[in-house]
Amino acid sequence: MKYLFSLLLIASVLVASAQDNNTAGEYKKRVLEHTEIDFLVNYYQQDGENAAVTGGYGTEELQDLSPTIVVAMPLNDDDVLTINANISAYTSASSSNIDPFDGKQPADPFVASSGASKSDVWGNVVGSYSHSSDDRNRLWNANLSVSAEFDYTSFGFGAGRTWLFNEKNTELSLNGNIYLDTWKLLYPIELRPEGGSFQQVVPGYDPSFNEHTSKGRNSYSAGIGLSQILSSRMTGYVSADFILQDGLLATPFHRIYFADKEDYFYENFQLADDIEQLPDSRFKIALGARLNYFVNHRVTLRTFYRYYTDDWGISSHTASLEIPVKITDKFTLYPSYRFYNQTAADYFAPANEHLSTEEYYTSDYDLSKFTANNYGFGVSYTDVFTKGHIWKLGLKSIDAKFHKYDRDSAFSASMFSFGVKFVVD
């Protein structure tokens, strides 16, 4: 049913695209005049005390550096090919504690190990193709994506269709995406077959652990969006996404400590009673709305709201406000604030509170109840005439933005993003 739903949506988009009326002979502006290249880079760091790898308590320290390049190429008047290549290189203290026994120091959930899992690289390439009708009132697009890291690979594809009408005052869009993902099953070291040695050196330690029988995780999403110009100063957008996931939705190296099992330690590290267990399906609904208001030639208000719910018992509200202020014709400052809250998943409990008789359990605080505040400040430089040049690249814009994210639990993060856009002569 889910395959049929997603494939029907994608097929309808592609079939509809073949029905464009060609009004040959009329003047039409190119959808994209020149090739555009975006160079983006982001530095992210986080810290917290509730790592899921160590069963809900332990360091969450992580640093990530993500360079990205996005190239948008006009293939002709109507078609644009966009390639997005992204690398994310990270070091993670909590991931390092998949195997905390590096022999260099006593293992401890609040101390990073020097094991193989302390760092990884996630690579991702997305190719998107879009076609616009001659009157620019119809647009379709298709995309393919591949991503991989040491323990996770993903293959995705999707398509979308957009209709503009009402003298381009109204825009309706449909899209569908499918991701076919595969885990490489990596368990906490003490639960692996070779981990049997812990049962020999820790008297009484005998975890009730069964390996996962499935490695796949599939995601199917369908979305609809409607935007409307509401006045000469206001424009709005409502959207809905419906997402179905199935397969291995738990993370294989997230430890669980049960309340009804004795605690066993090796060095300063509590050994796992089991790993996280979650249902093999999840259905999500996200409803979003944007409303932008042009106050004057200097100030704009950009607002966003989202309501989210899923069948794991999580519901969430997200609201954000950004206020771009043009300080000159080229420079814009944009402070922003984002509020987020969520209820806990039915299967969440902190360390040592789950019972071994439960069917599903997790101590991943990303699935707990929390409220988060995000403060951002960005600055943008734009030169629509691309006067500045580096070789054949005309500088169109420079963006820099800083974010600070704080949860009401012991977790905080910050990130700095930088981007430069060039237009090829």
Binding site: V70, I178, I243
Partner: protein
Amino acid sequence: MKKKIILLAGLGIMLFSSCTVLKEYEKVNINDPDMALADRKIDKFQTTFQSYREAASGANGGKTGGGCGCN
């Protein structure tokens, strides 16, 4: 849940049914880049980070799930 969906849909219909139709030459303010009904390109990192650290995703033009071992 049903009530919330009906309320949101009703709000959307009310908003969109009360609008006027602008000609292209009247869209100067609407065509300002800051009025785009989408996140800025540089915000893609923030959206990705949120899909890892928060349970909710979707309806924001970003990832809806899949492609990573995230929520």
